[in-house]
């Protein structure tokens, strides 16, 4: 499963239950993020033991995109079947600043900032 656009890609590897985000995401609101939301919904529905979000190569994410991540985490938490691991980079400033908020919504979420 993959979503590609100008300057970004979001790809799911079922073998490792990992969603990898690359590039810059500055889409305009719910309608434009819908394909990515759909991909994430399918991952949640597959209910792997741990879902890994690999964000280290995502250089920029606007608030609409952070919103998508928040909604995803809430869905996973409510479904109750999967844990979440977020791999991020300390070299990408927004990640160190904003991703810890995901843990406010799902305290068991693991955030690895390398």
């Amino acid at each position: 499963m993959q979503v590609r656009g100008e300057g970004y890609s979001v790809a799911y590897d079922p073998a490792t239950a990992t969603v990898t985000f690359q590039g810059t995401l500055r889409l305009r609101g719910a309608a434009e993020y819908a394909p990515i939301v759909q991909l994430l919904d399918e991952v949640v529905a597959a209910a792997p033991e741990t879902i890994t979000l690999n964000l280290a190569a995502l250089r920029f994410l606007n608030s609409a995109g952070i919103n998508v991540l928040f909604k995803f985490v809430i869905k996973v938490r409510e479904q109750g079947d999967s844990q979440v691991l977020v791999r991020a980079s300390s070299q990408v400033p927004w990640q160190g600043k904003s991703l810890k908020n995901l843990q406010r919504l799902m305290p068991a979420l693991r955030l690895e900032l390398e």
Partner: protein
């Protein structure tokens, strides 16, 4: 009638290093213009690194951090002015960035829809007076329910919460005889 919320400081055009971009909102459809906010934010972020050269690890880290913060804040402000500019007023939107000794100040201006003015002012008042953590979680939960997917309020909360920015607003008529209200959002980012 001019109304200020928060600690709004008027921009200083004469003595400060500044860069101001004006967009005419009616010349292109929003979809094509959307791309310009990212382009502009990238340009602004890169431009201001000129004043923060990297010659060792600490200064390099500082440059990366400033660039990331300018990129996020400028992008968010531009997305907001593009989204919320009141088109019937036919006024340009603008983003100005000023460098002071201890801070950057961003000023984003747009005409505002009179129908949403009161609600927006109430929100601004909440941002300045309520507990931010509580507001943040409340907004995230609200966004989950809200299919329209407007994240602009979350974007402002993230500036306050994640970037330790200070926000202020000025509401004023577009001109002396005008009924149209223009809002200027000021974001102060400490250096």
């Amino acid at each position: 009638m001019q109304k200020k919320f928060g600690d709004f400081v008027e921009p200083n055009h004469t003595d400060q290093e500044c860069l101001i971009i004006h967009f005419s909102p009616t010349s292109l459809p929003l979809q094509q213009r959307w791309r310009t906010s990212g382009l502009s934010a990238d340009f602004l972020a890169e431009y201001w690194t000129t004043f923060f050269p990297a010659h060792d690890v600490p200064s390099r880290n500082k440059q990366i951090e400033i660039k990331g913060s300018i990129n996020y804040i400028a992008n968010e402000l531009l997305e907001n002015v593009m989204k919320f500019s009141y088109r019937p007023a036919d006024l340009p939107v603008s983003l100005g960035l000023y460098l002071y000794q201890d801070a950057f100040r961003f000023y984003a201006g747009n005409a505002i829809d009179p129908q949403t003015l009161d609600e927006f002012r109430n929100f601004v008042q909440q941002l300045l007076t309520r507990d931010l953590d509580e507001l943040y979680i409340q907004q995230v939960k609200h966004n989950v329910e809200d299919e329209s997917g407007d994240s602009s309020r979350l974007g402002l909360l993230m500036m306050l919460n994640d970037y330790d920015a200070r926000l202020a607003w000025k509401f004023e008529p577009a001109s002396q005889d005008s009924d149209v209200i223009v809002v200027t959002t000021m974001v102060q980012l400490a250096l």
